[in-house]
Each structure stands twice: as structure tokens, then as C-alpha cells.
């Protein structure tokens, strides 16, 4: 099983505004860091350009990150034990503080490429029901053996 992770961030200003310039400049090195990180499997790209962000219909100023990793440790080491941490610590400069969960994880079979709709559905589920084996967080984590991944249910959400 592989670990899928989706997180959303509400930008304080449009992505092409001067307020976001430092963040946008960091995107390319950050993405490359992720792609070279141990256990990286896949990420949803916004386009071929190094600073392209994922385009979507889930609201303006919403930045979406979506990736797949071999294990929790691989994802943790990228998020918190790499240069990514420094960017995270500056998050308030660029993103609004939100009270509801903005990051979700779930297990997928190896080789499965999750859709954005599936990911946003998992985030909705986390927000509605709290952490479950189908949608959880680093703090309340479920091992892959506990994950009840149902292909039929995932199909239906596409």
C-alpha cells in the first residue's frame, strides 16, 4: 500500500501577487526536493512549468498539494525533516489560519493514481467524521493494515 496525502491552503492573495512571490519562487526547489526525496511516488502537477500550481474548481485562492508516498516515515521526513520545514514555518505570511482540518491522508493500492475528486472527498470525510481509517492525519494515524480501502467506493466517487 502507498500513502496518499492531500492538503489545501487558503492564500492571503492571488498566486501572482507580490505577497505570494517568495512562496512561488520556492515552489520549484520544493517540488524537486519532494521528487528526489526517499519514498516519493507521485504528485499532482499543475502543468509542465516549474511554478505551475494545480488548477481546480474548489474555490479561489485555494492552493492544493497532492502526493503519494511509500510510507508515513518517508512523508514525515519530507514534510518536517527537510528544507520544507522552513517554508512551513513561514506559512502565516502567505496563508490564512483555518480552524478545520486542511490536510488528510489515506492508503491506496500501489499503482493507483488518485483523482483530485477522490482526495477532496477524503478531506471532506475527515472534516465531517474526524479521523477514520479512510481519512486520517499524522496525529491520528492509521496503519495500512487498518485501512479499509474499498475499490468500489472509490470508483463511485470518480
Amino acid at each position: 500500500m502507498h500513502l496518499a496525502q492531500l492538503n489545501v491552503a487558503h492564500m492571503r492573495a492571488p498566486v501572482d501577487s507580490p505577497e505570494l512571490a517568495d512562496f512561488v519562487a520556492a515552489l520549484d526547489p520544493l517540488n524537486r526536493l519532494a521528487e528526489d526525496a526517499p519514498g516519493f511516488v507521485w504528485r499532482l502537477k499543475g502543468g509542465e512549468g516549474p511554478q505551475d500550481v494545480v488548477e481546480h474548481g474548489y474555490g479561489d485562492h485555494l492552493l492544493i498539494n497532492f502526493s503519494v508516498w511509500e510510507s508515513r516515515d518517508n512523508l514525515w521526513d519530507y514534510v518536517y525533516r527537510s528544507a520544507h520545514l522552513g517554508l512551513l514555518q513561514r506559512r502565516r505570511e502567505w496563508f490564512l489560519r483555518v480552524a478545520e482540518p486542511y490536510s488528510v491522508m489515506w492508503w491506496i493500492p500501489e499503482g493507483h493514481v488518485p483523482s483530485l475528486k477522490e482526495g477532496m472527498g477524503r478531506l471532506e470525510a475527515l472534516r465531517a467524521q474526524g479521523p477514520t481509517p479512510e481519512a486520517f492525519t499524522f496525529k491520528q494515524f492509521y496503519d495500512s493494515s487498518e485501512a479499509a480501502w474499498r475499490p468500489a467506493a472509490a470508483e463511485a466517487r470518480k
Binding site: 516515515d73 525533516r81 520545514l85 514555518q89 502565516r92
Partner: protein, 213 residues
């Protein structure tokens, strides 16, 4: 404190065994029996005995690894190697539990969005922990950071706030950085700069030497 923790920590009572343990953790990588014996100055069989006792107690992990580059027939079987185990053991007499309190307070800082205030406080606390003129490496060692010289400066092998950093990584790493900067201030040390450079399995802070001009 659980009685198991006391039992585990008590296995370090023997001075040779403690030297063996400290040597292994100082390496930050797997150690073979021969090099441990040589470093501690005991026979290989005695080093092996203590290494296995430490592994049995759970303080070290053991595995098998080829220590030479040779492979294939004639390269011999893999050697038994040891490294620090992941767990942590606490002994306090009488019982004290600062960890739970720290978890509660970290939760509060998170809820209040008080990262910046926490960093300012950490800086002040850090500055007050040390005396001016004290040696940086020594101050860090005393606080459990296990500093070692690396190419890019003084790195720290151990995170003294490990459990909290797993629960609140953003808060704890930024507070730790502020604490380290406070330490430098308190020492009156302006030849080094503390910066964030996290790596898997180590503390997130590195002290780089400032250019002398």
C-alpha cells in the same frame, strides 16, 4: 516512571557497558563489535557481551551487515552490528512528568496561534540557561543535544524534545531554534549562527561558524 524503564536504564550501571553504549551512540551509525572493543579498550568477546546485553535491554538494536565492500564467495558472512534503538526511557525519583504538561502547553500555543510569543520566550529562556563565556559544545552536550563536528558546522545528533517534536513538529522545531539562538546570546558567542536545517533522525538545528571578517 515505569518499573520497566528503571530496569532498562539500570543496565547502564556497569561502567564498561556504559562506555560501550556511549561509544555506539556517538557514531550515529551502525557499529561493529571489533571497533567498539578497540574504542573502549576491552576484549572483543567482552564488548560483544555488553553489546548483546544492551540490545537485550532494548537500548540498542542489532542487525547484520557486510562491513567490507567485498561480496560473493570468500567475502565472509555479514558482521553483527549495533545502533541506538528508537525508544526512550525516563527515570525520575520521585516520579515527575513534565512531558504531559509540555504536551498540554504545546496544544495551547497551537490553539492560540502563539508561535511567535513562544519563540520569544524560548530565546529568553535559552539565554538564561548558560553563563557568559561557557563553551557552546559543552553547553549543548549538557542539555542532551549530542553535538558533533560536521563539514558545515556543529550538528546535533539528538533531539532532547523528541516526543513533543513528533506531536507538534512546527512549534517544537521553531521553539528549539529560538532556544539555541538564546543559548548563543547567553554565552556571548557571536562566532556561530544557529539555523534550521532538519535531517531525518537528528535535531533540526545546525550551528554554522561565522566568517571571521
Amino acid at each position: 516512571m515505569s518499573s520497566d524503564d528503571l530496569g532498562t536504564v539500570a543496565t547502564l550501571h556497569d561502567p564498561v557497558r556504559r562506555a560501550v553504549y556511549e561509544y555506539v551512540i556517538s557514531l550515529g551509525r551502525e557499529a561493529g563489535r571489533n571497533e567498539v572493543a578497540e574504542a573502549v579498550g576491552v576484549q572483543r568477546t567482552l564488548a560483544a557481551f555488553h553489546l548483546d546485553k544492551l540490545a537485550e535491554a532494548g537500548l540498542l538494536e542489532s542487525g547484520f551487515k557486510r562491513l567490507t565492500d567485498r561480496t560473493g564467495p570468500g567475502s565472509g558472512r555479514p558482521a553483527k552490528v549495533y545502533r541506538r534503538a528508537r525508544g526512550e526511557w525516563q527515570v525520575s525519583v520521585p516520579a515527575r512528568d513534565y512531558r504531559t504538561l509540555a504536551l498540554v502547553l504545546a496544544e495551547v500555543v497551537d490553539l492560540l496561534g502563539g508561535d511567535e510569543v513562544a519563540q520569544e520566550a524560548a530565546r529568553r529562556v535559552g539565554a538564561g540557561l548558560v553563563a557568559e563565556g561557557e563553551d557552546l559544545g559543552r553547553a549543548l552536550s549538557e542539555r542532551g543535544y549530542e553535538p558533533y563536528e560536521a563539514e558545515d558546522g556543529l550538528r546535533l545528533r539528538n533531539c532532547p524534545f523528541h516526543v513533543l517534536s513528533m506531536e507538534h513538529p512546527l512549534l517544537v522545531c521553531s521553539v528549539n531554534l529560538a532556544l539555541c539562538r538564546g543559548l548563543l546570546e547567553g554565552l556571548g558567542n557571536d562566532s556561530a549562527t544557529a539555523r534550521l536545517d532538519p535531517r531525518p533522525g537528528e535535531c533540526c538545528v545546525v550551528f554554522s561558524k561565522n566568517n571571521e571578517n
